[in-house]
């Protein structure tokens, strides 16, 4: 009996993660559906809200003044740079869409644990000697992996649609982007898995998701910089992990000035604290499962 069984603390963790990933890549339709939203945002919003064309696309005259076109263009680009840090709004938004897809995917990871409970699979797992923490950890890690794959696809699509990278970009910058996304995905997935384990039904989980998704998104710098926000909204944006992720990504990919030390410190703390709370609370929820 002894040599047949290997009960290390992490046994079965990889098996659970690969189950999640298998379910995911075996249904490519779901993968595509989850990509539609950020891509539509990119295509519609990113391309239509092309702020530079507000100036260049139209020609207007102010009575008595004859402003040369170059001057107008110059003004436009300076104004954009002052607000967004770049004159290329599409690239600005594309960077924001990376954290968008991570946020939405993390929310979905909560749903999958609700279904596991509902359909009995979770109950079956609990009859086996798998450590309870591994069940939670597998959900979180698989969600993080999915997030990173989805973000890569969004980045690829954005590049094809004309996202402009900063000159002299190198591999380290991309690794930095993945690190930022990884930290945020880890924290958010922990949060939503924890919420899902505490809520009894998928209806309440859906309600939580709908309550949080758009406010989290719009109260961040995903679509517009924090500086243009009203003063009451700014504090919300300042504690929103999406803002820090976006700032880090924009500096690394687009060269928009930010503070990487603050960004990564905040994201690391966010991921660590939420993962800790999430895993402990989920573990306790599974212990007293009734």
């Amino acid at each position: 009996m002894k040599e047949e069984v290997n009960l290390s603390p992490l046994h079965g963790l990889w098996a659970l993660i690969s189950r999640e990933l298998k379910k995911w890549y075996k249904t490519p339709v779901l993968l595509i559906i989850s990509l539609i939203q950020p891509v539509v945002w990119l295509a519609l919003f990113g391309k239509s809200m092309n702020l530079a064309s507000l100036f260049t696309g139209t020609s207007f005259n102010i009575n008595g003044l004859n402003i040369p076109k170059q001057v107008l263009d110059q003004i436009a680009s300076e104004v954009l740079k002052a607000t967004f840090g770049t004159s290329d709004y599409f690239s600005f938004l594309a960077a924001g869409m990376l954290s968008f897809i991570v946020l939405f995917n993390a929310m979905g990871s909560g749903m999958s644990i609700v279904w596991d409970r509902r359909l009995g699979f979770l109950n079956k797992l609990l009859t086996t000697p798998i450590p309870r923490g591994s069940i939670v950890l597998a959900k979180i890690i698989s969600s993080v992996l999915r997030s990173l794959v989805l973000a890569s696809i969004v980045m690829l699509v954005a590049t094809l649609m004309g996202m402009q990278y900063v000159q002299g970009i190198n591999v380290l910058d991309f690794l930095g982007v993945y690190l930022a996304l990884f930290l945020m995905a880890f924290g958010l997935s922990s949060l939503f898995v924890m919420l899902a384990l505490r809520s009894s039904s998928w209806e309440s989980q859906m309600a939580i998701m709908n309550l949080l998704n758009l406010p989290l998104l719009f109260a961040s710098n995903s679509f517009y910089p924090t500086s243009s926000m009203p003063s009451w909204l700014r504090p919300v944006s300042d504690i929103n992990p999406l803002s820090y992720t976006n700032e880090a990504i924009r500096q690394l990919l687009l060269g928009i000035q930010g503070n990487l030390t603050i960004d990564f410190t905040y994201l690391s703390l966010f991921a660590f604290i939420l993962a800790l709370i999430g895993i402990i609370l989920s573990w306790r929820a599974l212990q007293q499962n009734n």
Binding site: E4, V5, N6, L7, S8, H11, G12, A15, L16, R19, K22, K23, K26, T27, W115, L119, G120, F121, N123, K124, L125, L126, T127, T128, P129, I130, Q287, Q288, N289, N290
Partner: protein, 331 residues
């Protein structure tokens, strides 16, 4: 330590509701032990506590030598559980499901592959093992659940309603698989069921649970014999007239009327039957058929719980059908 399971004052409260109330019993090694009881009597709660899915409010149980509260992990390693609901992941194949659960037990791959093959073969799923579970029929899914429940070679197998919602033929098949597996792996089986014939036919001993308490434990035969008296069934034309006469005969405990049949519960069948015939003949009622039978398990069950299990059966089948609809709606 010869018992496979020993429950000691096992108790579970849900708020103020006593789902299981200071229950004591033993299950002997190698026997098939059945739990019978109305819905909400505490059968599933008991099994869930024994399988370490629920923590008892008070008391404990020793399952294959380990305490379910203090040594939950060791208990989990030595038992197999087939829950009431289907638990396999529908998006994966049967094979993927069984290997996944084997990994949860930390069984090394080369061993789990061998065992999975053997088990799937035993339950007749070798041909379907590479198909997605969502394509399986109810009977196939149940067989898969049983195979999965045995992947860790448990010394005790817990089955919660293993045949619920299946047709009669499939039910017989499931039981014959179970009996084969039991013989092969020399297991103790603890089972809850709604089907009296199954409990009667397959269980070595039965515990009748009602309102969180065990009201009776014994072999099916002991349970039936514990009901005093016999059942006399009469077939005759004028049941109404017969009723008034029969009521006056000594030793008649209860009379039930079904069509033109009278089912009479009496203290002693062979002594009272002639008296009944005599009394009826004297007023010109002729009995076309008479039989004396011992009480069935259903009668024993009614005696102890005050309910007929037949009605229970229908309501849980309905419940199960609802769950299945929910499942389909999802996919």
């Amino acid at each position: 330590m010869d018992d496979a399971i020993r429950a000691i004052e096992l108790t579970k409260y849900y708020g103020s509701v006593k789902a299981v109330d200071h229950v004591n019993f033993e299950v002997r090694k190698g026997e098939i032990f059945g739990f019978l009881g109305p819905n909400g009597a505490g059968k599933t709660t008991t099994i869930k506590m024994l399988a370490t899915l629920l923590k008892p409010t008070e008391g404990t149980a020793i399952v294959s030598g380990y305490d379910i509260v203090r040594e939950a992990k060791k208990v989990r390693q030595s038992i197999g559980v087939v829950p009431q609901e289907y638990t396999a992941d529908e998006d994966l194949t049967g094979w993927e499901n069984i290997i996944l659960i084997a990994d949860m037990y930390g069984i090394k791959r080369e061993i789990s592959r061998e065992r999975a093959k053997e088990l799937l073969n035993m339950v007749g799923l070798s041909n379907a093992m590479n198909r997605k579970v969502s394509t399986y029929s109810g009977g196939m899914r149940r067989r898969l659940e049983i195979a999965i429940g045995l992947i860790n070679r448990p010394s005790i197998l817990f089955l919660d309603e293993p045949t619920l919602g299946l047709d009669a033929q499939t039910r017989v098949a499931i039981w014959s698989y179970l009996m084969d597996l039991k013989k092969m792996y020399n297991m103790t089986i603890s089972v809850t069921t709604h089907y009296l014939e199954e409990a009667d036919f397959y269980c070595n001993r039965i515990a009748i649970i009602d309102k969180g308490k065990i009201v009776k434990i014994g072999s099916p035969r002991e349970l039936k014999e514990s009901i005093k008296g016999d059942i006399i069934t009469l077939e005759l034309m004028d049941t109404l007239k017969a009723l008034s006469i029969l009521k006056r005969i000594d030793g008649v405990i209860e009379i039930k009327e079904e069509n033109n049949l009278l089912r009479i519960k009496v203290s002693n069948g062979s002594e009272i039957a002639p008296k009944i015939l005599e009394a009826l003949n004297s007023v010109g009622i002729y009995v076309t058929r008479i039989s004396i039978t011992q009480p069935t398990l259903d009668e024993a069950y009614m005696e102890y719980t005050g309910k007929s299990l037949r009605e229970e059966q229908a309501s849980s089948e309905e419940m199960f059908a609802m769950m299945r609809t929910l499942r389909r709606a999802r996919s």
